[in-house]
Protein backbone atom coordinates (compact mmCIF):
# COMPACT_ATOMS: atom_id res chain seq x y z
CA UNK A 1 0.00 0.00 0.00
CA UNK A 2 1.39 3.41 -0.92
CA UNK A 3 1.75 5.44 2.25
CA UNK A 4 3.29 8.53 0.81
CA UNK A 5 3.91 9.87 -2.62
CA UNK A 6 5.93 12.89 -3.68
CA UNK A 7 4.75 14.27 -7.00
CA UNK A 8 7.12 16.55 -8.84
CA UNK A 9 8.21 18.56 -5.79
CA UNK A 10 9.94 21.82 -6.78
CA UNK A 11 11.38 24.29 -4.29
CA UNK A 12 13.19 27.56 -4.97
CA UNK A 13 15.19 29.66 -2.56
CA UNK A 14 16.14 33.25 -3.06
CA UNK A 15 19.78 33.62 -2.19
CA UNK A 16 20.88 37.26 -2.12
CA UNK A 17 19.53 38.52 -5.46
CA UNK A 18 19.40 35.33 -7.49
CA UNK A 19 16.94 32.51 -7.33
CA UNK A 20 18.25 29.08 -6.51
CA UNK A 21 16.35 25.92 -7.32
CA UNK A 22 16.97 23.36 -4.59
CA UNK A 23 14.48 20.70 -5.58
CA UNK A 24 13.97 20.27 -9.30
CA UNK A 25 11.04 17.87 -9.35
CA UNK A 26 11.25 15.07 -6.81
CA UNK A 27 9.16 11.97 -7.43
CA UNK A 28 9.12 9.25 -4.81
CA UNK A 29 6.75 6.51 -3.78
CA UNK A 30 6.96 5.15 -0.24
CA UNK A 31 5.13 1.96 0.72
CA UNK A 32 3.82 1.42 4.24
CA UNK A 33 6.60 -0.06 6.36
CA UNK A 34 9.39 1.07 4.06
CA UNK A 35 12.62 2.35 5.59
CA UNK A 36 13.76 4.81 2.94
CA UNK A 37 17.17 6.43 3.24
CA UNK A 38 17.82 9.61 1.29
CA UNK A 39 21.44 10.26 0.40
CA UNK A 40 22.90 13.07 -1.66
CA UNK A 41 25.54 15.78 -1.78
CA UNK A 42 25.27 18.40 0.94
CA UNK A 43 23.03 21.30 0.02
CA UNK A 44 21.00 19.21 -2.43
CA UNK A 45 17.78 19.81 -0.53
CA UNK A 46 17.24 16.44 1.19
CA UNK A 47 16.37 18.15 4.44
CA UNK A 48 14.07 20.59 2.67
CA UNK A 49 12.31 17.65 1.07
CA UNK A 50 11.79 16.10 4.51
CA UNK A 51 10.45 19.39 5.86
CA UNK A 52 8.00 19.60 2.98
CA UNK A 53 6.75 16.09 3.79
CA UNK A 54 6.39 17.15 7.43
CA UNK A 55 4.31 20.12 6.28
CA UNK A 56 6.76 22.59 7.80
CA UNK A 57 7.46 24.10 4.39
CA UNK A 58 5.37 24.45 1.26
CA UNK A 59 6.66 23.32 -2.13
CA UNK A 60 6.58 25.83 -5.00
CA UNK A 61 5.26 23.14 -7.30
CA UNK A 62 3.95 19.63 -6.91
CA UNK A 63 2.41 17.98 -3.91
CA UNK A 64 2.85 15.31 -1.27
CA UNK A 65 0.08 12.73 -1.18
CA UNK A 66 -0.23 11.10 2.22
CA UNK A 67 -2.76 8.29 2.67
CA UNK A 68 -4.49 9.48 -0.48
CA UNK A 69 -4.79 13.14 0.59
CA UNK A 70 -2.56 16.10 -0.27
CA UNK A 71 -0.48 17.43 2.62
CA UNK A 72 -1.46 21.00 3.48
CA UNK A 73 -0.15 21.47 7.00
CA UNK A 74 2.04 19.88 9.62
CA UNK A 75 0.58 17.04 11.65
CA UNK A 76 1.61 14.46 14.27
CA UNK A 77 0.97 11.77 11.65
CA UNK A 78 4.33 12.72 10.18
CA UNK A 79 6.77 13.40 12.98
CA UNK A 80 10.16 14.93 12.37
CA UNK A 81 13.30 14.09 14.34
CA UNK A 82 15.63 17.06 13.97
CA UNK A 83 19.37 16.87 13.44
CA UNK A 84 20.13 18.45 16.81
CA UNK A 85 17.12 16.89 18.46
CA UNK A 86 15.34 20.20 19.13
CA UNK A 87 14.59 19.05 22.67
CA UNK A 88 13.06 21.63 24.97
CA UNK A 89 15.65 22.70 27.55
CA UNK A 90 12.98 23.91 30.00
CA UNK A 91 11.46 20.44 30.32
CA UNK A 92 12.73 17.29 31.98
CA UNK A 93 13.35 14.27 29.76
CA UNK A 94 10.01 12.68 30.63
CA UNK A 95 8.11 15.92 29.98
CA UNK A 96 9.92 16.30 26.67
CA UNK A 97 8.83 12.81 25.68
CA UNK A 98 5.24 13.52 26.77
CA UNK A 99 5.02 16.89 25.05
CA UNK A 100 2.92 15.81 22.07
CA UNK A 101 0.62 13.73 24.25
CA UNK A 102 0.03 16.73 26.47
CA UNK A 103 -0.79 18.87 23.45
CA UNK A 104 -3.31 16.23 22.44
CA UNK A 105 -4.98 16.56 25.84
CA UNK A 106 -4.18 13.07 27.09
CA UNK A 107 -4.50 12.85 30.90
CA UNK A 108 -1.41 12.68 33.08
CA UNK A 109 -1.57 9.04 34.18
CA UNK A 110 -2.05 7.83 30.65
CA UNK A 111 0.78 10.03 29.41
CA UNK A 112 3.08 8.56 32.02
CA UNK A 113 2.09 5.03 31.04
CA UNK A 114 2.87 5.64 27.37
CA UNK A 115 6.06 7.62 27.93
CA UNK A 116 7.43 5.05 30.39
CA UNK A 117 7.15 2.40 27.71
CA UNK A 118 9.25 4.40 25.27
CA UNK A 119 11.69 5.63 27.89
CA UNK A 120 12.25 1.98 28.67
CA UNK A 121 12.63 1.06 25.00
CA UNK A 122 15.25 3.79 24.53
CA UNK A 123 16.98 2.95 27.85
CA UNK A 124 16.21 6.36 29.27
CA UNK A 125 14.31 5.41 32.41
CA UNK A 126 17.22 6.44 34.63
CA UNK A 127 17.25 9.89 33.03
CA UNK A 128 13.50 10.58 33.14
CA UNK A 129 13.98 13.43 35.63
CA UNK A 130 17.12 14.92 34.07
CA UNK A 131 17.19 18.12 32.12
CA UNK A 132 18.47 17.85 28.59
CA UNK A 133 21.72 19.75 29.18
CA UNK A 134 22.74 16.94 31.52
CA UNK A 135 22.67 14.40 28.67
CA UNK A 136 25.27 13.41 26.11
CA UNK A 137 24.54 13.98 22.41
CA UNK A 138 23.68 10.31 21.96
CA UNK A 139 21.27 10.38 24.89
CA UNK A 140 19.64 13.50 23.50
CA UNK A 141 19.01 11.76 20.19
CA UNK A 142 17.46 8.85 22.07
CA UNK A 143 15.12 11.28 23.78
CA UNK A 144 14.27 12.87 20.44
CA UNK A 145 13.44 9.46 18.98
CA UNK A 146 11.37 8.51 22.03
CA UNK A 147 9.52 11.83 21.80
CA UNK A 148 8.69 11.06 18.18
CA UNK A 149 7.66 7.43 18.75
CA UNK A 150 5.34 8.37 21.60
CA UNK A 151 3.16 10.16 19.05
CA UNK A 152 2.69 6.83 17.27
CA UNK A 153 3.16 8.57 13.90
CA UNK A 154 2.42 6.88 10.59
CA UNK A 155 5.66 8.21 9.20
CA UNK A 156 8.87 9.05 11.00
CA UNK A 157 11.00 11.71 9.30
CA UNK A 158 14.60 11.71 10.48
CA UNK A 159 16.94 14.50 9.41
CA UNK A 160 20.53 13.31 9.85
CA UNK A 161 19.81 12.40 13.47
CA UNK A 162 23.15 10.63 13.95
CA UNK A 163 25.37 13.18 12.18
CA UNK A 164 26.89 14.65 15.32
CA UNK A 165 27.42 11.38 17.20
CA UNK A 166 30.73 9.66 17.79
CA UNK A 167 31.30 6.40 15.89
CA UNK A 168 30.62 4.05 18.81
CA UNK A 169 27.38 5.73 19.79
CA UNK A 170 26.27 5.78 16.18
CA UNK A 171 26.92 2.04 15.75
CA UNK A 172 24.85 1.38 18.83
CA UNK A 173 21.99 3.54 17.63
CA UNK A 174 22.11 1.97 14.17
CA UNK A 175 21.38 -1.40 15.77
CA UNK A 176 18.67 0.06 17.97
CA UNK A 177 17.07 1.88 15.05
CA UNK A 178 16.69 -1.40 13.16
CA UNK A 179 15.10 -3.02 16.22
CA UNK A 180 12.71 -0.11 16.63
CA UNK A 181 11.72 -0.31 12.99
CA UNK A 182 11.10 -4.06 13.23
CA UNK A 183 9.17 -3.68 16.47
CA UNK A 184 7.02 -0.72 15.48
CA UNK A 185 6.64 -1.34 11.73
CA UNK A 186 6.85 2.39 11.14
CA UNK A 187 7.36 3.92 7.74
CA UNK A 188 10.61 5.83 8.02
CA UNK A 189 12.31 8.42 5.82
CA UNK A 190 15.86 8.95 6.93
CA UNK A 191 18.18 11.62 5.54
CA UNK A 192 21.90 10.95 5.80
CA UNK A 193 25.10 11.81 4.00
CA UNK A 194 26.64 8.56 5.15
CA UNK A 195 26.25 5.78 2.58
CA UNK A 196 27.20 2.98 4.99
CA UNK A 197 24.55 4.20 7.43
CA UNK A 198 21.99 4.24 4.62
CA UNK A 199 22.72 0.65 3.60
CA UNK A 200 22.55 -0.58 7.19
CA UNK A 201 19.19 1.01 7.81
CA UNK A 202 17.32 1.25 4.54
CA UNK A 203 15.07 -1.14 2.70
CA UNK A 204 15.33 1.41 -0.05
CA UNK A 205 18.00 4.00 -0.74
CA UNK A 206 17.23 7.03 -2.90
CA UNK A 207 20.17 8.96 -4.31
CA UNK A 208 19.63 12.70 -4.82
CA UNK A 209 21.43 14.50 -7.63
CA UNK A 210 23.12 17.85 -7.26
CA UNK A 211 20.92 21.01 -7.41
CA UNK A 212 18.35 21.37 -8.84
CA UNK A 213 17.97 17.92 -7.44
CA UNK A 214 15.94 15.00 -8.62
CA UNK A 215 16.08 11.43 -7.41
CA UNK A 216 18.77 10.00 -9.62
CA UNK A 217 18.42 6.39 -8.68
CA UNK A 218 16.68 4.13 -6.18
CA UNK A 219 18.22 0.96 -4.75
CA UNK A 220 16.43 -1.93 -3.09
CA UNK A 221 18.16 -3.47 -0.09
CA UNK A 222 17.02 -6.84 1.16
CA UNK A 223 20.09 -7.98 3.10
CA UNK A 224 19.26 -9.87 6.29
CA UNK A 225 19.10 -7.98 9.60
CA UNK A 226 20.49 -6.98 11.97
CA UNK A 227 23.08 -5.37 9.76
CA UNK A 228 26.25 -3.57 10.73
CA UNK A 229 28.27 -1.08 8.67
CA UNK A 230 31.05 -3.60 7.97
CA UNK A 231 28.76 -6.35 6.60
CA UNK A 232 30.35 -7.76 3.46
CA UNK A 233 26.92 -8.32 1.93
CA UNK A 234 26.43 -4.54 1.96
CA UNK A 235 29.75 -3.75 0.33
CA UNK A 236 28.63 -4.15 -3.26
CA UNK A 237 25.56 -1.98 -2.66
CA UNK A 238 27.65 0.67 -0.96
CA UNK A 239 29.96 0.77 -3.95
CA UNK A 240 27.06 1.05 -6.40
CA UNK A 241 25.55 3.92 -4.43
CA UNK A 242 28.88 5.69 -4.17
CA UNK A 243 29.33 5.33 -7.92
CA UNK A 244 26.07 7.25 -8.42
CA UNK A 245 26.80 9.73 -5.68
CA UNK A 246 30.41 10.68 -6.45
CA UNK A 247 29.80 12.63 -9.66
CA UNK A 248 27.01 14.57 -7.93
CA UNK A 249 29.21 15.47 -4.98
CA UNK A 250 31.85 16.59 -7.47
CA UNK A 251 29.36 18.77 -9.32
CA UNK A 252 28.15 20.28 -6.06
CA UNK A 253 31.67 21.50 -5.34
CA UNK A 254 32.25 23.13 -8.69
Amino acid sequence: MTKLEAKNIVKHFSHESHKLTALGGINLKVEAGDFVCLVGPSGCGKSTFLRIIAGLEKPDEGQIIFDGHPVTETSPERIMVFQEGALFPWLKVQDNVEFGLKMAGIPKEERAKISNRYLDMMQLTKFANSYTYQLSTGMKQRVAIARALVMDPDVLLMDEPFASLDAQTRDLLLVEMQLIWEKTKKTILFVTHNVAEATVLGTKIAVFSNRPSIIKKEFENNSPRPRITEDESLLKLQQDILAELRPEVKKSRE
Partner: protein, 255 residues
Protein backbone atom coordinates in the same frame (compact mmCIF):
# COMPACT_ATOMS: atom_id res chain seq x y z
CA UNK B 1 25.61 41.71 39.36
CA UNK B 2 26.97 43.81 42.18
CA UNK B 3 25.71 41.49 44.84
CA UNK B 4 27.03 37.99 44.52
CA UNK B 5 27.88 35.26 46.95
CA UNK B 6 26.92 35.36 50.59
CA UNK B 7 25.06 38.36 51.92
CA UNK B 8 26.90 38.66 55.22
CA UNK B 9 30.59 38.54 54.44
CA UNK B 10 32.97 40.11 56.98
CA UNK B 11 34.01 42.70 54.40
CA UNK B 12 30.49 43.79 53.79
CA UNK B 13 29.62 44.06 57.47
CA UNK B 14 32.80 46.03 58.14
CA UNK B 15 32.04 48.35 55.24
CA UNK B 16 28.55 49.27 56.47
CA UNK B 17 29.73 49.55 60.07
CA UNK B 18 32.45 51.91 58.80
CA UNK B 19 29.93 54.13 57.02
CA UNK B 20 27.81 54.41 60.16
CA UNK B 21 30.85 55.22 62.31
CA UNK B 22 32.11 57.91 59.91
CA UNK B 23 28.59 59.32 59.65
CA UNK B 24 28.33 59.44 63.45
CA UNK B 25 31.73 61.15 63.74
CA UNK B 26 30.84 63.79 61.14
CA UNK B 27 27.60 64.60 62.92
CA UNK B 28 29.36 64.73 66.30
CA UNK B 29 32.07 67.09 65.01
CA UNK B 30 29.21 69.46 64.27
CA UNK B 31 30.15 70.74 60.82
CA UNK B 32 26.45 71.11 60.03
CA UNK B 33 23.58 71.64 62.45
CA UNK B 34 21.59 68.61 63.58
CA UNK B 35 18.47 69.58 61.66
CA UNK B 36 20.44 69.53 58.39
CA UNK B 37 22.72 66.56 59.07
CA UNK B 38 21.24 64.22 61.70
CA UNK B 39 23.29 61.47 63.28
CA UNK B 40 22.62 57.82 62.45
CA UNK B 41 21.18 57.47 65.93
CA UNK B 42 18.58 60.17 65.23
CA UNK B 43 17.65 58.55 61.93
CA UNK B 44 17.28 55.19 63.65
CA UNK B 45 15.18 56.83 66.32
CA UNK B 46 12.94 58.37 63.71
CA UNK B 47 12.60 54.99 62.04
CA UNK B 48 11.66 53.45 65.39
CA UNK B 49 9.01 56.12 65.98
CA UNK B 50 7.39 55.71 62.61
CA UNK B 51 7.52 51.95 63.06
CA UNK B 52 5.94 52.23 66.49
CA UNK B 53 3.04 54.43 65.40
CA UNK B 54 2.47 52.23 62.36
CA UNK B 55 2.91 55.00 59.77
CA UNK B 56 6.02 53.32 58.34
CA UNK B 57 4.35 49.98 57.79
CA UNK B 58 1.24 51.59 56.43
CA UNK B 59 3.43 53.54 54.01
CA UNK B 60 5.34 50.43 52.96
CA UNK B 61 2.13 48.44 52.53
CA UNK B 62 0.56 51.20 50.44
CA UNK B 63 3.57 51.52 48.16
CA UNK B 64 4.00 47.78 47.80
CA UNK B 65 0.34 47.31 47.02
CA UNK B 66 0.48 49.91 44.24
CA UNK B 67 3.75 48.47 43.00
CA UNK B 68 2.34 44.93 42.86
CA UNK B 69 -0.74 45.92 40.89
CA UNK B 70 1.23 48.18 38.57
CA UNK B 71 3.93 45.59 37.97
CA UNK B 72 1.38 42.81 37.46
CA UNK B 73 -0.31 44.92 34.78
CA UNK B 74 3.05 45.77 33.22
CA UNK B 75 4.20 42.14 33.15
CA UNK B 76 1.01 40.64 31.78
CA UNK B 77 0.51 43.44 29.28
CA UNK B 78 4.16 43.55 28.29
CA UNK B 79 4.39 39.80 27.74
CA UNK B 80 1.30 39.75 25.54
CA UNK B 81 2.42 42.80 23.57
CA UNK B 82 5.97 41.45 23.20
CA UNK B 83 4.77 38.09 21.92
CA UNK B 84 2.46 39.69 19.38
CA UNK B 85 5.22 42.02 18.21
CA UNK B 86 7.59 39.10 17.75
CA UNK B 87 5.10 36.87 15.95
CA UNK B 88 3.10 39.32 13.83
CA UNK B 89 5.23 41.48 11.56
CA UNK B 90 2.51 44.11 11.01
CA UNK B 91 2.22 44.68 14.75
CA UNK B 92 5.98 44.91 15.04
CA UNK B 93 6.22 47.55 12.31
CA UNK B 94 3.38 49.64 13.72
CA UNK B 95 3.10 49.19 17.47
CA UNK B 96 6.76 48.19 17.77
CA UNK B 97 8.08 51.59 16.74
CA UNK B 98 5.69 53.32 19.13
CA UNK B 99 6.84 51.09 21.99
CA UNK B 100 10.44 52.10 21.37
CA UNK B 101 9.44 55.74 21.49
CA UNK B 102 7.29 55.43 24.60
CA UNK B 103 10.02 53.53 26.39
CA UNK B 104 12.20 56.62 26.32
CA UNK B 105 9.67 58.62 28.38
CA UNK B 106 10.65 58.56 32.09
CA UNK B 107 7.86 57.27 34.36
CA UNK B 108 7.69 60.59 36.15
CA UNK B 109 6.81 62.38 32.91
CA UNK B 110 3.50 60.48 32.88
CA UNK B 111 2.46 62.04 36.19
CA UNK B 112 0.79 65.21 34.84
CA UNK B 113 -1.26 63.17 32.40
CA UNK B 114 -2.16 60.66 35.12
CA UNK B 115 -3.35 63.45 37.43
CA UNK B 116 -5.46 65.01 34.68
CA UNK B 117 -6.95 61.68 33.69
CA UNK B 118 -7.43 59.97 37.03
CA UNK B 119 -7.13 62.73 39.63
CA UNK B 120 -5.09 62.29 42.80
CA UNK B 121 -6.08 58.64 43.18
CA UNK B 122 -4.54 55.19 43.53
CA UNK B 123 -5.48 54.54 39.92
CA UNK B 124 -3.33 57.46 38.81
CA UNK B 125 -0.29 56.20 40.73
CA UNK B 126 -0.79 52.65 39.50
CA UNK B 127 -1.06 53.98 35.96
CA UNK B 128 2.30 55.73 36.28
CA UNK B 129 3.86 52.61 37.82
CA UNK B 130 2.54 50.28 35.13
CA UNK B 131 3.25 52.46 32.13
CA UNK B 132 6.80 53.12 33.31
CA UNK B 133 7.49 49.38 33.46
CA UNK B 134 5.48 47.86 30.64
CA UNK B 135 7.75 48.74 27.72
CA UNK B 136 10.86 47.22 29.29
CA UNK B 137 8.92 43.97 29.69
CA UNK B 138 7.59 44.26 26.14
CA UNK B 139 10.98 44.78 24.55
CA UNK B 140 12.67 41.97 26.47
CA UNK B 141 9.84 39.58 25.71
CA UNK B 142 10.03 40.55 22.05
CA UNK B 143 13.77 39.91 21.97
CA UNK B 144 13.31 36.61 23.81
CA UNK B 145 10.67 35.31 21.42
CA UNK B 146 12.65 36.48 18.39
CA UNK B 147 15.67 34.54 19.65
CA UNK B 148 13.88 31.24 20.13
CA UNK B 149 15.51 28.46 18.13
CA UNK B 150 13.03 28.06 15.23
CA UNK B 151 13.37 24.28 15.56
CA UNK B 152 11.62 24.42 18.94
CA UNK B 153 8.60 26.05 17.36
CA UNK B 154 8.62 23.71 14.37
CA UNK B 155 8.95 20.63 16.55
CA UNK B 156 6.08 21.83 18.74
CA UNK B 157 3.81 22.57 15.79
CA UNK B 158 4.75 19.22 14.29
CA UNK B 159 3.67 17.54 17.54
CA UNK B 160 0.33 19.27 17.38
CA UNK B 161 0.80 22.50 19.39
CA UNK B 162 -1.43 25.29 18.11
CA UNK B 163 -2.50 28.83 19.02
CA UNK B 164 -2.48 29.53 22.74
CA UNK B 165 -0.96 26.09 23.42
CA UNK B 166 2.04 27.09 21.35
CA UNK B 167 2.29 30.35 23.30
CA UNK B 168 2.03 28.87 26.80
CA UNK B 169 3.87 25.60 26.20
CA UNK B 170 6.70 26.86 23.98
CA UNK B 171 7.00 30.58 23.34
CA UNK B 172 6.82 31.71 26.97
CA UNK B 173 9.06 29.04 28.51
CA UNK B 174 11.55 29.28 25.65
CA UNK B 175 11.77 33.06 25.94
CA UNK B 176 11.72 33.03 29.74
CA UNK B 177 15.43 33.69 30.33
CA UNK B 178 15.04 36.96 28.39
CA UNK B 179 11.70 37.72 29.95
CA UNK B 180 13.22 37.59 33.43
CA UNK B 181 15.58 40.41 32.47
CA UNK B 182 12.50 42.29 31.35
CA UNK B 183 10.76 41.63 34.66
CA UNK B 184 13.84 42.82 36.53
CA UNK B 185 14.06 46.01 34.52
CA UNK B 186 10.30 46.42 34.75
CA UNK B 187 10.40 46.06 38.53
CA UNK B 188 13.20 48.62 38.78
CA UNK B 189 11.22 51.10 36.66
CA UNK B 190 8.04 50.35 38.59
CA UNK B 191 9.72 50.94 41.94
CA UNK B 192 11.13 54.29 40.81
CA UNK B 193 7.79 55.09 39.22
CA UNK B 194 5.66 54.38 42.27
CA UNK B 195 7.89 56.38 44.64
CA UNK B 196 8.15 59.27 42.18
CA UNK B 197 4.40 59.33 41.60
CA UNK B 198 3.67 59.21 45.33
CA UNK B 199 6.00 62.18 45.84
CA UNK B 200 4.12 64.26 43.31
CA UNK B 201 0.63 62.97 44.04
CA UNK B 202 1.41 63.38 47.76
CA UNK B 203 -1.18 60.75 48.54
CA UNK B 204 0.00 58.09 51.02
CA UNK B 205 2.87 55.64 50.53
CA UNK B 206 6.64 55.94 51.04
CA UNK B 207 6.91 58.73 48.48
CA UNK B 208 4.34 60.68 50.45
CA UNK B 209 6.29 60.14 53.69
CA UNK B 210 9.40 61.49 51.97
CA UNK B 211 7.51 64.58 50.89
CA UNK B 212 5.93 64.94 54.33
CA UNK B 213 9.42 64.85 55.87
CA UNK B 214 10.50 67.60 53.53
CA UNK B 215 7.52 69.83 54.34
CA UNK B 216 8.13 69.37 58.06
CA UNK B 217 11.84 70.12 57.62
CA UNK B 218 12.44 66.69 59.18
CA UNK B 219 15.71 65.53 57.58
CA UNK B 220 15.82 62.39 59.76
CA UNK B 221 12.52 61.26 58.36
CA UNK B 222 13.63 61.94 54.79
CA UNK B 223 16.83 59.94 55.27
CA UNK B 224 15.13 57.13 57.13
CA UNK B 225 12.53 56.70 54.38
CA UNK B 226 15.25 56.77 51.73
CA UNK B 227 17.02 53.98 53.56
CA UNK B 228 13.78 52.00 53.70
CA UNK B 229 13.30 52.49 49.95
CA UNK B 230 16.84 51.32 49.29
CA UNK B 231 16.56 48.26 51.52
CA UNK B 232 13.25 47.16 50.01
CA UNK B 233 14.74 47.56 46.54
CA UNK B 234 17.79 45.55 47.48
CA UNK B 235 15.77 42.78 49.11
CA UNK B 236 13.40 42.37 46.16
CA UNK B 237 16.29 42.47 43.71
CA UNK B 238 18.25 39.76 45.49
CA UNK B 239 15.54 37.65 47.06
CA UNK B 240 12.96 37.63 44.31
CA UNK B 241 14.70 38.27 41.03
CA UNK B 242 18.15 36.89 41.66
CA UNK B 243 16.58 33.66 42.94
CA UNK B 244 14.24 33.41 39.99
CA UNK B 245 17.09 34.06 37.59
CA UNK B 246 19.35 31.47 39.23
CA UNK B 247 16.59 28.90 39.15
CA UNK B 248 15.94 29.34 35.45
CA UNK B 249 19.62 29.47 34.56
CA UNK B 250 20.43 26.27 36.40
CA UNK B 251 17.41 24.54 34.91
CA UNK B 252 18.63 25.42 31.43
CA UNK B 253 22.19 24.46 32.31
CA UNK B 254 23.42 27.98 31.58
CA UNK B 255 25.34 28.23 34.79
Amino acid sequence: MIITGKNFTPHRIAFYAGIIVIWQIISMVGVWPDNIFPSPYEVAEDLAYSAADGSLFYGIATSMWRLSIGLAIAISGGVVLGIFMARVEVINQTVGSLVLGLQSIPSIAWVPLAILWFGLTDVGIIFVTAIGAIFAVTINTYTGVKNIDPHYIEAARNMGAKGTQLITAVLIPAAFPYMISGFKQGWAFAWRGVIGAELLFSFLGLGFLLNAGRSLNDVSQVISIMIVIMVIGLVIDTVVFKKLENKVMSKWGLQ
